[in-house]
């Protein structure tokens, strides 16, 4: 990064130039919430502006206003000094604004090239035919210029997420964007892909484009941005040049109080594993081997983190453990008992708790908080007796959990779909952890949550560990794994690369281990 430390204003050569985008006094209300409250923001040519804030801070709404998706209730937008009204995405595109959404707006069945040119196809022969040749050339040029390589003739669905994102970026560039908005682009990427993305962002900067990087990850913001603007509860807390921005300061601006990352005591573990996965092989529906010879021991009183890039067999492994999938070979043992052929409900009786990665698989959105808390407990006393649900006990239990887990809702009859992601996750935790589980299987528990909610989830998991639970934490978020695991297993292409104690793990090793490279011999070092 070509940062000039002494400059008071953003980047050196643009400080004299007027900003490309000025947003002034932007206010946007949604029923019950002020998403943006009188926000002022300037964006300069050739800079990467970080828009940092927790979930719900109003980052995406603000940029959606710039991209023509939402209309502000009040406020003005100036592009290159001229006042503009952006009523729809097409107008935004005309003004050179392009947004790469967190959920890609791509069509899976079409090829990469078709996706890129969609809606802006060059025509030939009397406007009847798409001129793929010239489109291809134009896209190729963009690819060369920004090193955005991806096979243009591949069907989109066959590409990994990281490449799909490139297609999305190419699409925006193809439409002539010179103000690029990237909404949480790193959320779906592997560390290596994040590095590549940052390189691409730098090349945009050098080409004189303005890049807006929406994120809630402080480390990434510092790494790539020239300037960071922090939003909290719909307001701008402040803007910092990156040379004066420290993680501590940013965290404080984001959450409003000093954020202490707690140091974690290691749990006390037993000698024999409570959960044992032994020589498990799994072939998926396409007869591809997705797990091969997986051995894992989880001891009571520990959190074993399973780290790896998504899609390396984690999903299948979790399904085998909980009983959603039968392994082709191998077995799962709980306290020495083979449970491989046991039904899911039988496993729950043995003391399993399962927190799936997708909240939609754990909650019934159209039912109330109370009825969601009942899920999975509904056949157990005291919640039901001879088919009849005991509403009084359920009500008391639900009210207790709502209080204990600080679930914010009008009452226990509120439908789950009306709650925020954080509150939904709290319901799942409340339900699963109140079962007094022995073994907790938890997947991406803090995905999509803000810092406060994430801390809550982690402290609850640690509390359960200290009570003697065996916890298997599967997460795509490396920080999460590093923060709360006692031991970490790395999975790559269906194989366990190694298992390490987390306190002896060096950060530099992690990238290698996640890509399946295990150089030294100091594997599993569990002291009993």
């Amino acid at each position: 990064m070509n940062l000039q430390v002494d400059e008071p204003k953003p980047t050196p050569d643009t400080s004299l130039v007027q900003p490309v985008v000025v947003m002034r006094g932007i206010t946007k209300r949604f029923p019950g919430v002020i998403a943006n409250d009188n926000i002022d923001l300037s964006i300069y040519k050739g800079e990467v502006l970080g828009l940092l804030g927790e979930n719900g801070a109003g980052k995406t709404v603000l940029m959606s206003i710039l991209a023509g998706i939402h209309k502000p209730d009040s406020g003005e937008i100036y592009i290159k000094g001229k006042k503009v009204v952006i009523n729809n995405p097409a107008t935004a595109i005309r003004h050179g604004i392009g947004m790469v959404h967190q959920h890609f707006m791509l069509i899976k069945e079409l090829t990469v090239l078709e996706n890129i040119i969609l809606g802006y196809e060059p025509r030939s022969r009397g406007r009847l035919f798409v001129d793929f040749q010239s489109a291809r050339e134009k896209v190729k040029q963009l690819q060369e210029k920004y090193k955005l390589y991806v096979n243009l003739d591949e069907i989109l669905a066959k590409l990994p997420i990281g490449l799909q994102q490139r297609v999305e970026i190419l699409k925006v560039l193809y439409r002539g964007a010179d103000i690029l908005i990237l909404d949480e682009p790193t959320a779906v990427l592997t560390p290596e892909e994040v590095g590549n993305l940052f390189e691409i962002m730098k090349s945009f900067k050098q080409a004189g484009k303005a890049v807006i990087f929406i994120t809630h990850k402080i480390r990434e913001a510092i790494q790539i941005c020239d300037r960071i603007t922090v939003l909290r509860r719909g307001k701008v807390v402040g803007s910092l040049n990156v040379n004066v921005a420290t993680p501590d300061a940013l965290a404080e601006m984001m959450i409003g109080k000093r954020f202490i990352s707690e140091t974690i005591q290691r749990g006390i573990t037993t000698k024999t594993p409570l959960l044992k996965i032994s020589e498990v092989d799994v072939y998926n529906e396409k007869r591809v081997k997705v797990l091969s010879n997986v051995n894992l021991d989880v001891f009571s009183g520990e959190i074993l983190g399973l780290a790896g890039v998504e899609g390396n067999g984690q999903t299948e492994l979790v399904e085998v453990i909980i009983g959603l999938r039968k392994p082709d070979k191998g077995a799962v043992f709980v306290d020495g008992v083979n449970v491989t052929n046991m039904s899911i409900s039988k496993r729950f009786e043995l003391g399993f708790s399962y927190i799936p990665g997708d909240r939609h698989n754990a909650l019934v959105q159209e039912l109330s908080i109370m009825e969601n808390i009942l899920l999975g407990k509904h056949n157990n006393p005291p919640f039901s007796k001879r088919f009849f649900i005991n509403k009084d006990i359920l009500k008391a239990h639900s009210e207790m959990l709502v209080k204990e887990y600080n679930i914010r809702a009008t009452n226990i009859y509120t439908l789950v779909k009306n709650l925020s992601g954080g509150n939904q996750q709290r319901i799942i935790l409340a339900r699963e952890l109140s079962k007094n589980p022995q073994i907790i299987l938890v997947v991406n528990p803090s995905r999509g949550l803000d810092i406060a909610a994430t801390n809550f989830v982690h402290s609850k998991l640690i509390e359960m560990r200290n009570k003697g639970c065996a916890i298997l934490l599967v997460s795509a978020d490396l920080d999460e794994i590093l923060n709360i695991s006692d031991r970490i297993a790395f999975i790559y292409e269906g194989k366990i690369v190694t298992v390490r104690d987390s306190n002896v793990l060096k950060r530099e090793e992690i990238g290698l281990l996640m890509s399946g490279i295990e150089n030294e011999g100091n594997t599993t070092t569990r002291e009993g």
Binding site: G32, A35, N55, S64, H103, L324, E366, L374, N418
Partner: protein, 358 residues
């Protein structure tokens, strides 16, 4: 992206009323549309509607006719609802109704040694059992092979109707020219409660049964599992619920209810099995289930409405010579608008709800 859906805070009573808005709109729209058609036909819509209203609630005869018509469709409506709540579409109700009716009639005219109340119970039970079995035959292929329950249910309906037709035309035909079964024994007859109309104790049973289904769905673990499976199968599996078992159970129960409806129609109204006796009570069950907002209590009111339309429509036919099809038309339009709930929902959403992303 985390999508937070922000709803306007409406108090719960208002929200409950909100739920029936699409239903009410559908009914009103259907009546207006039909009035328009009547007007085009050169009739006075007000006059026709007045006759219809009088013919359905105007005196004791018409009230009796309305409630009699409503009785079987409460049962089929409840049946539709229970299956639908588990995510299944039982369109085989008509066939299950026919077989249930025949089974009840058979018990009614053969097991004549049974004492009065027990005889009725046995006959209703037989109707439920056979209706349930017929539904089971329709749902097993779905669970085993993935065959769609709409196809199997629909096909088996024709089989059922023709089967009962055969039975009443040949092996069990009473003497005489008409395809009737023998009368059931007096001990199997449900008492008439509003003479001289045909209204029988079956109406009371229907109301009680709706309450029973309400409790089943909302207070029992079975009903809870049915609802969870119907809304979110992944969540159900993750919670250890056996979704196949739950779906089979819900669908079979659905068939039982339709079979009961047929049984009560035989025991209370006709007192024997008549070939092709149903004017479409099974199909009406779909309408009742949807119009009743998939709620057992709602089903009673929906059944009353459809019963009133049928009873009133008969009066209209008698007095003005307008064909009964006019009622079918009203029903058709109601269903059309209910089946397009997106239309109203999105309209209502625009008023009350807004969503944003962050």
């Amino acid at each position: 992206m985390r999508e937070i859906r922000q709803l306007v805070k409406v108090n719960s009573l208002l929200r409950r009323l909100f739920v029936i808005v699409p239903q009410a709109l559908a009914v009103v729209t259907a009546l207006i549309a039909t009035a328009f058609v009547l007007y085009l036909m050169g009739r006075n819509p007000w006059e026709i509607y007045y006759i219809m209203l009088f013919g359905s609630f105007g005196d004791i005869y018409s009230l009796g006719a309305t409630l009699t018509q409503a009785t079987p469709i409460i049962f089929t409506g409840l049946g539709f609802m229970v299956a639908f709540r588990s995510g299944l579409f039982n369109v085989g109700l008509e066939g299950q109704l026919y077989l249930g009716a025949f089974a009840a009639a058979y018990v009614g005219f053969t097991l004549t040694f049974l004492p009065p109340v027990l005889h009725i119970i046995t006959a209703i039970f037989a109707g439920a059992l056979v209706g349930g079995l017929w539904a089971l035959i329709a749902i097993i292929p779905k669970i085993k092979t993935g065959a769609h329950e709409v196809i199997t249910g629909l096909m088996l309906t024709y089989v059922a109707i023709l089967l009962t037709s055969y039975l009443v035309n040949y092996p069990f035909k009473a003497s005489g020219w008409a395809p009737y079964s023998p009368f059931i024994a007096e001990s199997a007859q449900l008492p008439r409660i509003l003479p001289p109309t045909q209204l029988s104790f079956g109406w009371i049973l229907a109301i009680i049964f709706a309450g029973f289904v309400h409790v089943l769905l909302n207070r029992t673990t079975i009903g809870y599992e049915i609802r969870v499976v119907g809304i979110n199968k992944e969540a159900a599996v993750s919670a250890g619920i056996n979704i196949n078992r739950t779906m089979i159970l819900a669908f079979t129960l659905s068939g039982c209810m339709s079979g009961m409806g047929g049984a009560i129609e035989v025991l209370g109204v006709h007192r024997r099995f008549i070939d092709l006796f149903s004017p479409g009570y099974g199909w009406d069950g779909i309408a009742v289930g949807l119009l009743g907002n998939l709620n057992p209590i709602g089903a009673i009111f929906a059944a009353l409405l459809l019963g009133a339309l049928r009873a009133g429509g008969s009066s209209v036919q008698m007095i003005t010579g307008l064909p009964l099809d006019i009622v079918t038309m009203v029903q058709g339009i109601i269903i059309l608008f209910i089946a397009a709930p997106m239309l109203y929902r999105s309209f209502i959403k625009k008023i009350g709800e807004n969503r944003y992303d962050d």
